[in-house]
Symmetry: C2
Subunit: 333 residues, 2 copies
């Protein structure tokens, strides 16, 4: 297209909008099921066990080490399907684009989004764009909605029992810290890459264990928030072992400097799994045999005799992990 920046005319339903959709969205996202002319896409679903989820994305900056808002919008929603025990099949995409966004930037982001979807084997089959007045849009917001087919046994927090073990598939907080450093607000620099990635290989492997109770990806609010939700939903407490929690030293250093707790930092490519104690070690070995799970660890236990999330510190003390109230890092996803 001839324009270099987004204008309100790109949102008006007319020629400029058609060119924007044809030359950026349809070009990158082309697949047989995407018909930018149609009001609704027809889906081929070989099963009636359909899962449905949605997520919005407002990350700032739009591009960061290890990804951009486009890859994040695919990973975030497909990972929600994956941890629900489903294989992602279809996505829809909403783009809220701020007037003045450079079209080259939008093109890069939608290209990455398309590549990420292709890697995961998910098709973008429906979409909508709106253009927001300058100053009203933070550059770009995306929302993706996903459809997947469930495989294996049903998961749910109601399956969780006293003594179940808690695993995490890799180091926590890389995404939160990578995005924070990309903002250059604190004059800090570092080589930390976002962990944003598909967790599908991890969740597929975990689904083979009949003792698997529940999975979740620790995004906004991190591991501590997943544990708070588990505690509230099950009425059982959780004991976490601080020295088992995988945290990269570079992430820990930034946390030490700025007073962040890695337990509350967002990941975008990790899974927390709750599993019967007999399956905990076999699942750990399985995850550690996959690239995405090399640094997996067993980090805690469900304990019906307490009613808090308790972290046992390295020096033998205990502290209660409260629900997040004040977020140190907004606009992280």
């Amino acid at each position: 297209m001839q324009d270099t920046h987004i204008s309100l005319a790109h949102g008006n339903g007319g020629r400029y909008m058609r060119e924007l959709i044809d030359e950026i969205f349809a070009r990158h996202l082309a697949n047989p099921d995407l018909d930018v002319q149609a009001d609704a896409a027809s889906l081929s679903l070989e099963s009636s066990d359909v899962m449905f989820t949605t997520d919005g994305f407002t990350v700032q900056p739009l591009e960061f080490p290890g990804g951009n808002i486009g890859s994040l919008a695919v990973h975030g929603t497909t990972n929600d399907l994956a941890v629900a025990g489903a294989i992602p099949k279809y996505l829809s995409l909403n783009a809220f684009i701020e007037e003045g966004l450079e079209i080259k930037t939008l093109d890069r982001i939608i290209k990455t989004l398309a590549e990420t979807a292709a890697e995961i084997g998910v098709k973008v089959v429906a979409g909508d764009t709106k253009v927001l007045r300058r100053g009203e849009g933070g550059g770009l917001y995306l929302a993706t909605t996903g459809i997947g087919i469930r495989h294996g046994h049903a998961l749910g927090m109601h399956n969780i029992k006293h003594g179940d073990q808690i695993l995490v598939s890799g180091p926590v907080g890389d995404h939160g810290i990578a995005v924070m450093l990309a903002r250059e607000e604190f004059g800090l620099r570092g080589d930390i890459q976002s962990d944003a990635a598909s967790v599908l290989s991890l969740t597929k492997a975990a689904m083979q264990f009949t003792g698997l109770r529940f999975m979740r990806d620790p995004t906004r609010g991190g591991i501590a928030t997943v544990c708070s939700e588990l505690q509230r939903a099950t009425g059982m407490g959780i004991r976490l072992l601080q020295n088992q929690l995988p945290v990269r030293s570079a992430v820990q250093s930034v946390c030490d400097m700025l007073g962040y707790d890695p337990m509350y930092l967002a990941c975008e490519g990790r899974v927390v799994a709750i599993v019967d104690k007999d399956d905990a070690l076999p699942l750990l070995k399985t995850w550690q045999s996959i690239d995405e799970g090399l640094e997996a660890e067993i980090i805690g236990t469900i304990d019906s005799e307490i009613d808090h999330v308790i972290m046992q510190t390295e020096i033998g003390g205990e502290r209660i992990l409260d629900e997040l109230e004040d977020d140190p890092l907004p606009r992280i996803c």
Copy 2:
């Protein structure tokens, strides 16, 4: 909840966000398939003929005569399913909420959204909220993604033939003008209500005609844009009759004063149908027997001997309707 206005803490994944979701979203949208704790919703679909669509909403002001952004977000997406020949079943909802939005306003909007979904018989089963920094969000943006089940024969622009008739289900432009007047930018006042409504009764009735080729709801860009898209996709021209086009006199007066063309104004509760000439009059009678279609009209003909959209004016002249370039009314949906 205790707070009166949205703060960034309502988007952080912690306690404030949980309260916001529990007390506004979950309360209004409660249904057996909505589990605000789950990563993905499980759907019961009795058919494999599944349709999928999405739409974003940025209307300003958030509330206007005849609706608000919440009812619009349900009508917009379920209408896209309806004109594709489907019965809407499930919705997901993304809310991008600006810091500082009054919680009472949000509550009113989500309540209307829930009521509108209930009227149409569609369940909101997945959702996500993000909070945007003050000045970055226009108050509230919504995106809804819908799943429906197709009934009857397959529709598509490729079915359209020379001589097919074009129907519209009611007066055009009410929505665009109602929203514009609600902005109070021009010092104009009027009693015009948005036409925002479900078109499901109209599309269900139309699907009974085997001669029905294609339907679309004329939203952004109006009837002229639907006709441009048809012309471009089929390679056939269109003849429209200006004196057949239903336009309320109050809408026409505002258009005359401000120089708007009703052909380009957005509707949110109208259907354009292309139908075999033998079914045109029976469909018109059927629509006129339904409350939503009392003022339906046959407005034109597909004509393979021309290659433009031509409007025959009341005084016998002809003018070409071009694709919309400059939108007089942005942020209308």
